[in-house]
Amino acid sequence: MPAKAVTLTVPELTFWERIYLVEVAKGLFRTMSHLLRNLLPTLKTDAYALFGKLPPAGERSIPTIYYPEEKRNYSNRFRGRHILKKRADDTLRCVACYMCQTACPADCIDIVAGEHPVLAYEKYPVKFEIDLLRCVMCGFCVDACPKDAIWMTRDYELSFFDRKSAVYGIPELTEKPGDTAEGGPGYGYRPYYGASPMRKAGEFQPSGLALMPFLDLRNKAINRMPAPAAPPAAPPAAKPAA
């Protein structure tokens, strides 16, 4: 290993550097070259703009993003607006266990639990609100969820006209087809599956029932529910959990 510290000295200026004029020209040449390199493609950009079009991203050398016509491409870990995931039968995966509410450092999640008519699901959120003005978008709720029920999207355009509309409830938070459709924000931050070799995130469907067949049988026996279309719409006698 080389010496720990390297002592730097102030560069000595040459005669030409001291009289400065040559240096001015050299400096101007350098900045001017940047200008031209940026300007020429920009002229092309302007030509596009004349016809109301965006230039292809590859044709520009300046990194400026033409927001809002053009938006930044975020990674699929981006921590934006939350969504509540649904089961295959269209009910919310959330079982109102209060884990995300507890893990939240900003104290922005408010849950009220109720008893779900499907016995296997046991609980569901009667109220699930996220105050997006308090939220710091840390993603701890996603990490804390034991049911893979809360994810985040890449939607970062969160602006509101009043504080009340910044509190998102179940209707706003429930995943919608538009979230993942073409042109939609797409999924962002989601549970990290760690070093587990089993499956990658996104492909995995947690299904407690499949792993606990006895429970499944018991449910089928006790709780002969019709095909679950009704539960989310009219949950009967929702009792808040103690």
Binding site: M1, P2, A3, K4, A5, V6, T7, L8, T9, V10, P11, L13, E17, R18, Y20, E23, G27, R30, T31, H34, P63, Y74, S75, R77, F78, R79, M99, T102, A103, P105, A106, V136, M137, C138, G139, F140, D143, A144, P146, K147, D148, M152, G188, Y189, P191, Y192, Y193, G194, A195, S196, M198, R199, A201, F204, P206, G208, L211
Partner: protein
């Protein structure tokens, strides 16, 4: 988690015993903690002089004064002496490369300690802070008044019986009182001197800082700095959050290099727990910390060049920073509020194209840095503006508690990455640039070279990035893999325990320091054995820098003060916490 019993690691214990028998004694320090001695308050001043001057000690650099209110500790940890408050002075010896904590406890009835400003001038603001937030009175302190809270504030916020959520009105009179401004009218030499207010919202302060200058013509004859405008109660908030929940708060400390803060915090808690993180996590932390360091220096230099009139360079450097932000976002999901570190590892593995992406970025960063180097480093105007201004001698830099690039620009080669290597820095081949002039140009030039050295570290890290997991498999600390949580009872129980109770950190305390972009970023954490930190004290590198600002600018011009402030790189987020 290993359970090695705490032992005393004080190297000069016999000398201490001979000189101060009974009044200062070594204490056992826990795993990973710095050596500790405990001092009787009455002899604190004598011990301090001994620690500074004795050849066997030579603790010349005062890093931090952490205060703690011990009244709410669990019964078995309550201090036997019954003294409620305790101040911990964190010292460092630049000659012997050793840290030391000096503890002095004071009773509630008379919480008073001798001021150590005359021993270590850096103590000035640290003691003011301890008085402001904990109410420890420092006798003979030259300027003991509120620092982080305003003058209308009642009580001492970090005391355990201070109820959070109280609001105190700050009237206009409370804001404007600085000694300097009020004395102007009455002083003998008031003729032709004027008071100039600078900040808190001024384009050249780059943050909510305030300084008041007293000017004779355009020369500054006296100056006073004021901070606290961005105080967000970080330390108070941490006490009501679990260890994991503190991580998002650390992002907001130095917001120009958030990754370093989070890594430093996570490492401090890991040291308390005795948890080892996997090699891949260590390498990724190093790589991203170095990227953050580059970003921080880019911001510092770019903004400062704007202040002294070289606007173009701002865009060159910010383009590089912009690209780095893209990489950080792909790793952690946010450009600035990264929250990437977790206690025991990282929140996610790095993306698949991480290595190629980083390599591509390094080329870009080096290109932009070289461009600015060519434009500025040998530029006559820049040299005239920066050379010889904001001078700090080697002795002053140490006395004022400087660390990081500003200390190295004054000729002291102190860098924790070399002196107290962590995260495997000892295996990387890099140099510590040092300059002896101690002026603004040195601070600029050292930073430029540091960016190149950081790039070297990143290249080495990328070329031998280990594969494997990025999280420890100790599920008492790290959330278990989701497969386990979804499918196994055991995993679910660990998960529940971690979320609801937090990581159970064994009782004890630690001072853990990281080389932040601005200097030594220290976390003093006291745990009472529960899931929430009992007390966290951050040692922000900017704090002593800004405290010294008011001394550095005297005798210079206002425009020199602007250049000085920019190259000290004061980040209000970590200054005020």
């Amino acid at each position: 988690m290993s359970t090695d019993a705490p032992v005393s690691t004080v190297s000069f214990a016999p000398v201490l015993e001979r000189k101060f028998a009974g009044r200062a004694r070594p204490e056992a320090s826990g795993r990973g903690d710095v050596p500790t001695i405990s001092v009787d308050p009455a002899s604190l001043h004598d011990v301090a002089l001994f620690l500074r001057d004795d050849p066997s000690t030579r603790f010349d650099l005062l890093l931090d004064v952490a205060s703690i209110d011990r009244s709410k500790l669990p019964a078995e940890q309550l201090p036997r002496d019954g003294k409620r408050f305790q101040a911990s002075y964190i010292l460092y010896s630049t000659r012997r490369n050793e840290h030391l904590r000096v503890k002095a406890a004071v009773p509630e009835a008379r919480p008073s300690l001798p001021s150590l400003v005359d021993v270590w001038p850096a103590a000035n603001w640290f003691e003011r802070e301890a008085w402001d937030l904990m109410g420890i009175d420092f006798e003979n302190h030259p300027n003991q008044k509120r620092l982080l809270t305003h003058n209308g504030f009642v009580g001492h916020a970090l005391r355990k019986d201070y109820e959070a959520g109280q609001r105190w009105l700050c009237t206009e009179e409370d804001i404007l009182q600085t000694d300097l401004a009020s004395k102007t009218e009455t002083a003998e030499d008031a003729f032709e001197t004027m008071t100039l207010n600078f900040g808190p919202s001024h384009p050249a302060t780059h943050g909510t800082l305030r300084a008041v200058f007293r000017l004779d013509g355009e020369t500054i004859v006296a100056a006073e700095g004021e901070c606290g405008y961005l105080h967000r109660c970080f330390e108070k908030m941490s006490e009501s959050h679990t260890y994991s929940q503190v991580i998002p708060y650390t992002d907001r400390l130095n917001y120009c290099s958030p990754m370093i803060n989070g890594n430093g915090y996570a490492r401090a808690v890991e040291q308390m727990l005795g948890v080892e993180i996997p090699p891949r996590a260590r390498a990724v932390r190093v790589i991203l910390s170095e990227f953050s360091r580059i970003m921080d220096h880019l911001v510092c230099i770019a903004a400062n060049l704007v202040d002294i009139g070289a606007l173009t360079n701002f865009w060159f450097l910010f383009q590089a920073r912009e690209e780095i932000y893209g990489l950080l976002e792909a790793c952690c999901g946010a450009r600035l509020t990264s929250s990437y570190a977790r206690i025991g590892g990282l929140s996610n593995d790095v993306p698949e194209n991480f290595v190629e992406w980083s390599r591509r970025l390094l080329v870009e960063v080096k290109k932009q840095v070289d461009e600015v180097d060519r434009l500025v480093s040998r530029n006559g105007i820049a040299m005239k503006r920066l050379r010889g201004t904001g001078l700090v001698t080697k002795e002053n830099a140490i006395a004022w508690g400087f660390t990081g690039p500003c200390l190295r620009a004054s000729g002291v080669p102190y860098d924790l990455r070399k002196d107290k290597p962590y995260d495997g820095y000892e295996t990387y081949d890099f140099d510590i640039p040092v300059m002896n002039d101690g002026d603004n140009y040195s601070r600029y030039y050292v930073r430029m070279e540091e960016m190149r050295q950081s790039a070297r570290i990143i290249e080495q890290g990328l070329s031998r990035l280990p594969s494997g997991p990025v999280n420890s498999d100790d599920y008492r600390v790290v959330l278990p893999p989701k497969e386990m949580v979804y499918n196994e009872m055991e995993g679910l129980i660990y998960h529940f325990k971690l979320v609801f109770e937090g990581i159970q950190v064994p009782a004890g305390e630690i001072y853990s320091s990281t080389e932040g972009a601005n200097g030594e970023l220290g976390y003093s954490i006291v745990s009472d054995g529960s899931g929430r930190p009992y007390r966290i004290k951050v040692r922000p590198p900017c704090f002593p820098l800004f405290a010294a600002f008011e001394k550095m600018v005297v005798g210079g011009m206002v425009s020199d003060a602007v250049a000085t402030l920019g190259l000290l790189n004061i980040i209000a987020g970590e200054l005020d916490r």
